[in-house]
């Protein structure tokens, strides 16, 4: 809980009163590796804070091809955000890549609370801003950086990622094959 409160306070300080009301919405959960927090086509209702572990968010095309959109380490907020906002079917899947300790909360209840609490509303705005900036950064990386540069950016962002998740998932995230990833790493070592 400390991790979550600290993270939120860093974004924008919350009063004790606000935190207490918000805490009453939280559910602590533990999930095994490969557990899906959100399936394709499901109407998302919850938002998540990852206390420990790794989570991936990915798209599945009609012919079953997966595209990793993002990999989240501990201390991240994760959600099928478009589905939460528009209250429609999720276009992404959210899966635990490792065993995960998660705090869940109902997004509609959270919004209702933030609509009456200025500090929470400001925190959510700033959180969304961070989210958006991260998205844009990744879009520009995918346009302007080659796969080696994107690999280096990934391990800079999450240094221990190779010990925690499979090469297959890292390759998927970079939009390359595992063979290409091996070659890329071999080239970096020489």
């Amino acid at each position: 809980m400390e991790l979550m409160r600290n993270k939120m306070n860093k974004i924008h300080p919350l009063s004790d009163e606000t935190w207490n009301e918000f805490s009453s919405l939280l559910k602590h959960k533990q999930y095994p590796s490969k557990h899906k927090l959100c399936k394709l086509g499901q109407r998302a209702t919850d938002s998540y804070f990852l206390i420990d572990g790794f989570i991936r968010v990915y798209l599945i095309s009609e012919n079953g091809v997966e595209t990793n959109k993002h990999i989240y380490p501990s201390g991240s907020f994760v959600a099928s955000f478009t589905s939460l906002i528009l209250q429609n079917k999720s276009i992404v899947e959210i899966e635990c890549l490792t065993e995960c300790k998660i705090v869940e909360f109902n997004y509609a209840d959270f919004i209702k609370l933030s609509n009456s609490r200025m500090d929470l509303c400001i925190m959510q705005r700033k959180n969304l801003e961070k989210f958006y900036v991260g998205l844009e950064k990744r879009e520009l990386e995918s346009v302007f950086l080659n796969s080696t540069e994107r690999y280096l950016a990934l391990i800079k962002r999450i240094p221990k990622i190779e010990t925690k998740i499979s090469q297959k998932n890292i390759a998927l995230h970079l939009g390359i094959t595992t063979v290409q990833l091996s070659r890329l790493k071999r080239n970096l070592r020489t």
Partner: protein, 192 residues
Amino acid sequence: MNLLESYILSIHHLSKKSLKDLTDLFEYKVYKSNDILCEVDTIPTKTFFLRNGCVKAYIPSSINKSYVRRIYAENIIFSSYSALIKNTKSIYNLKCITDCEILECNYEEFIKLSEKNIEVAIFIRKAIEKLYVTYINRNIDFLTLDATERYKNLVEKIPEIESFLTQNEIASHLAISKMQLNRLKKKLNNYS
């Protein structure tokens, strides 16, 4: 009711007073084609409502091949957003590609108002959510629609796009080569 008011109310219902306090922050300005609203490498301070006209957001490149990231048609709020909220240098140029009628507002004042007025705070939150959804949908289109469909969507959104942007700019916006763009257009003409 004017365009800006309708746009704001379509996102969140504000009381009369809150709506007035917010719209009072916006100043009406007319710009000419090729005028720059936000210069690359400067720190942006404003957010804009496009009442009339067309604007492009692009990353200028020394190789004469700029990357046109966004094209804005009327009835939208836009800015060099990441730089604006982080208070860093803009990587984009925001340039009018037609004469434009714009309502502009100092972003810091906008935020100051939102931190005193919860209706405005909710409005901003919903506006960012909308921005996020538009963004994601655009990315999804990129992953799921082929270049022809994306070209058709672009022309549907801005029918005169061919007169506003060069072939290089249109191609880079669709993330294809100029040759692919030519081929695609030839095919479309053959079927029409």
